[in-house]
């Protein structure tokens, strides 16, 4: 009996860790590909509404984001409590939209500029007035492809 156990103990060598870096690198590449760097701090609270008829936005580089919502608690002293527009990392007005769009446009190759989509991330409790102003500004700037960002509805 003792002979047996002794033999077994001896027979198990250290596991080779040589393939460990490969596995880790694989994971690393996965996360590198799916990572979206959070480019700007959110200054407004946004909880987007739910919907069922969703389209996925494919190319991140062709999307610019417009946030609309009430300013976060810590910014209420500066920006007030009524819903505001956030472009990049600043609270803005709809007058700033054309410049914002133009700044995004110059980063996109010319042949893909017609595919630029504006993603409107609007809080569900916001009234349509400010959304309408943004839509009008987008239409005037000839940015007609928009996407109302929504969460998938749980059935």
């Amino acid at each position: 009996m003792s002979k047996f156990t002794k033999k077994r103990g001896k027979a198990s060598p250290a596991i080779s860790t040589a393939s460990l870096p490969d596995i880790i690198f694989m994971l690393l590449f996965f996360f590198m590909v799916v990572t979206v760097m959070r480019s700007s701090d959110r200054l407004v609270d946004v909880i987007v509404p739910e919907a069922t008829e969703l389209t996925k936005l494919e190319k991140k580089s062709l999307v610019n984001q417009i946030y609309i919502g009430k300013p976060k608690d810590q910014y209420r002293d500066i920006y007030g409590t009524s819903p505001r527009i956030q472009l990049n990392d600043k609270i803005s007005d709809e007058d700033d939209i054309p410049i914002f769009l133009e700044k995004h446009k110059i980063k996109v190759p010319e042949n893909q500029r017609s595919k630029i989509t504006s993603s409107l991330r609007v809080d569900g409790e916001v009234t349509m007035g400010i959304v309408q102003d943004v839509k009008t500004a987008l239409r005037k700037a000839n940015q007609l492809k928009i996407n109302y960002s929504t969460r998938p509805k749980a059935n």
């Binding site: 690198f25 799916v34 009234t127």
Partner: protein
């Protein structure tokens, strides 16, 4: 010559043990910064800006499906109060008009959905209404698609060939006109 070879062999093996540590470090960095939120939503094509207002009176009344949402988030569909839950079925019936009723659209290509809201309408309600209208079209497109050879169980989505999608959408075009909102109930 022989001696040299031996020397080389000694320095050949690089210790790869720390490779895992480096990779781990990077991995943890990307794990922390990752936000896997695929941007999803309802895609809309806005009409180009023009100062001319479209005159809705020119249209035949039976072809227009008017949806009004007021500042209290109530729905008025073709002049009568309605619930969001009924909207999808009513829209489908209006566009397809299976019983060839006099007061519904002549044919799907002539149907126009007219959506109007107040400035005080909540965004959530607006999205719900828009979602229902879009869902009605998606269901009709799927039904249409199923009548085509080779697509009897297919669901209409963006993965279908563009040619097929165009064909289906030519039969039932998505026409949704949004009027300028009225100034009621803004905060």
């Amino acid at each position: 010559m022989l001696k040299r070879k031996k020397n080389n062999r000694v320095s050949n093996e690089v210790n790869a043990g720390s490779m895992a540590d480096i990779a781990f470090l990077l991995l943890i960095f990307f794990l922390v910064t990752t936000t896997i939120d695929i941007d999803k939503g309802i895609t809309v094509k806005l009409p180009p800006w023009s100062n001319e207002e479209v005159d809705p009176t020119k249209l035949n009344k039976r072809n227009v499906f008017s949806v009004l949402v007021n500042a209290d988030d109530q729905l008025l569909v073709r002049g009568e109060l309605a619930e969001v839950e009924q909207l999808r079925e009513r829209t489908k019936e209006f566009i397809a008009n299976p019983e060839k009723r006099e007061d519904l659209a002549e044919k799907p290509t002539k149907a126009i959905i007219s959506l109007k809201n107040d400035r005080g309408t909540s965004y959530e309600t607006y999205i719900q209404v828009y979602n229902e209208l879009k869902a009605a079209y998606n269901e009709l497109w799927t039904e249409k698609l199923n009548t085509m050879p080779g697509y009897s169980d297919a669901i209409f989505n963006n993965e279908l060939p563009l040619e097929i999608r165009r064909q289906v959408r030519a039969e039932i075009p998505f026409v949704l006109s949004e009027a300028e909102p009225t100034n009621f109930g803004e905060e």
